[in-house]
């Protein structure tokens, strides 16, 4: 174990009060100056049991930090409520069933370093993630035999399959295999091309857009200017709805409300164009 990466205190929790350890630090790719921040949370199950799964978690973006997964979603200490200022113990932490490895990837994300300022793509990110995983195993060899699962959400829908493919190819070439068992992807981006149409259909199905709102331009050609106009109108209309949780609360910063007048003007313009829908829009509003 990497003793220098051992987390002894994670405010307000003293780690000696728990039956698992947390490690946090950097994993570096040897052929570049990039270093990746990781947090490794041991399972609450028997730590010496090689049957306990290891789960590599990636948040999406592209470019979003996996610390969200650690401190808001599946880690042992989380902000349970949106407005909480201190961490609470998470009764449903996924480390009740597995070891958790949170990786901030690609480099340049979260606390990770990207001194080269390179432009990333899906393939390169997958290559780097494999190298970082190998680095993890070299630092923590006792987990090499544990079943590995890849998990994450959103743009991890792209990260995860590509990393799995790299692992498969690596396993085909090497004797020391990575024990990949499966993957779990939540609200994953599998194809950015049809995502805008799905968003519009979903918004219509859930009455976030007026019943007569016409999305056919996007169904015909998602890259057309007409579709851009449809997307813009939809964006204006749904601006005050939390897109990530349509029944949830929408938080705004003070400075984000400065465009209030502009927004109202756009809404009025939209209603004038679609004046036959004014009553319906108002009712829904």
């Amino acid at each position: 174990l990497q003793i220098e990466d051992l987390v002894t205190y994670l405010p307000p929790f003293n780690m000696s009060d728990f039956n698992f350890s947390i490690y946090s630090g950097y994993l570096s790719i040897t052929d570049s100056n990039q270093s990746f921040h990781y947090v490794f949370v041991q399972s609450q199950l028997n730590n010496l049991d090689n049957n306990v799964p290891l789960v590599l978690w990636l948040n999406g973006g592209p470019g979003c930090s996996s610390m969200i997964g650690f401190l808001q979603e599946i880690g042992p200490f989380v902000f349970l409520n949106d407005d909480d200022e201190t961490l609470s113990y998470n009764e449903y932490s996924w480390n009740r069933a597995a070891h958790l490895l949170f990786l901030e990837s690609p480099s340049g994300v979260g606390f990770s370093h990207n001194p080269l300022n390179i432009t990333f793509n899906d393939s390169q990110t997958a290559d780097h993630n494999l190298k970082v995983l190998q680095e993890f195993y070299s630092n923590y060899p006792e987990y090499q035999k544990n079943p590995l699962w890849l998990a994450g959400e959103s743009y991890a829908g792209a990260y995860i399959p590509l990393l799995a493919q790299r692992i498969k190819k690596f396993n085909d070439l090497e004797v020391a295999v990575i024990n990949l068992q499966g993957m779990m992807i939540g609200n994953g981006v599998t194809n950015l091309t049809h995502l805008p149409i799905s968003q519009l259909i979903y918004q219509k199905q859930h009455q976030l857009l007026p019943p007569t709102f016409d999305i056919s331009a996007c169904e015909k050609n998602v890259t057309s200017e007409d579709c851009e106009d449809v997307n813009y109108d939809a964006w204006i209309i749904t601006k005050r709805i939390n897109p990530y949780d349509i029944y949830g609360y929408c938080y705004y910063e003070e400075n984000e409300l400065e465009d209030e007048e502009e927004w109202i003007l756009h809404m009025k313009q939209f209603m004038m164009i679609h004046n036959d829908n004014i009553v319906k829009v108002t009712n829904h509003d």
Binding site: E4, T8, Y9, P11, S24, G25, H37, G61, G63, C64, S65, M67, I74, V78, F79, D82, D83, E85, N90, Y92, W94, A97, A98, P106, G108, V109, F111, N114, T119, F120, D122, A151, E153, Q165, K168, L180, Q181, G182, M183, M184, I185, G186, N187, G188, T190, N191, S198, Q199, I201, Y202, Q203, L208, N242, P243, Y244, D245, Y247, G248, Y249, C250
Partner: protein
């Protein structure tokens, strides 16, 4: 457009606290942001949508790995119908028809459909984009059952 409406003040304050950075052994000079694309102009990313679908199909063809695709059904950013659309484009067959599943005192957790090649699709009723944050009990249940290879 960033991540509108999401409350991250608490995590941002926490991770940018110098003491917390020391406890986590991270570079104290780095300002933590939720998403680099919105805050760091030097961070650039180019996506390749066709490649992702191709690789997903390749993995399914190996028939080696269990794949769970789950969607909180209150998310409009990556809606569950988008995942369904992807599933329809993949060369897999339905092995178990769309059915409800139950958690938390036999309440409806959502719906699930089984596919060939070790693939399963699940919705989580009422959860948004961040399923484990929105519905911790159901998310852990799905996670644990999947790891154990048990039905839900």
């Amino acid at each position: 457009l960033g991540v509108p409406c999401v409350q991250i003040d608490n995590i941002e304050n926490y991770l940018n606290n110098q003491q917390v950075k020391q406890y986590l052994h991270v570079d104290e000079s780095i300002q933590w942001f939720l998403c680099s694309k919105q805050h760091n102009k030097q961070f650039k990313y180019v996506s390749d949508p066709p490649l992702v679908m191709k690789v997903l199909q390749e993995l399914l063809n190996y028939n080696l790995y269990n794949i769970l695709l789950y969607n909180g059904d209150a998310d409009s950013v990556v809606p569950w119908i988008d995942t369904m659309q992807a599933l329809q484009k993949l060369q897999v067959t339905i092995t178990e028809e769309w059915r409800p599943y139950y958690v938390k005192n036999n309440q409806l957790g959502g719906y699930t459909q089984g596919y060939s090649n070790k693939l399963r699709f699940v919705t989580v009723r009422g959860a948004g984009h961040m399923v484990p944050q929105n519905d911790r009990i159901t998310a852990f249940y799905l996670f644990n059952q999947t790891l154990l290879g048990q039905a839900f």
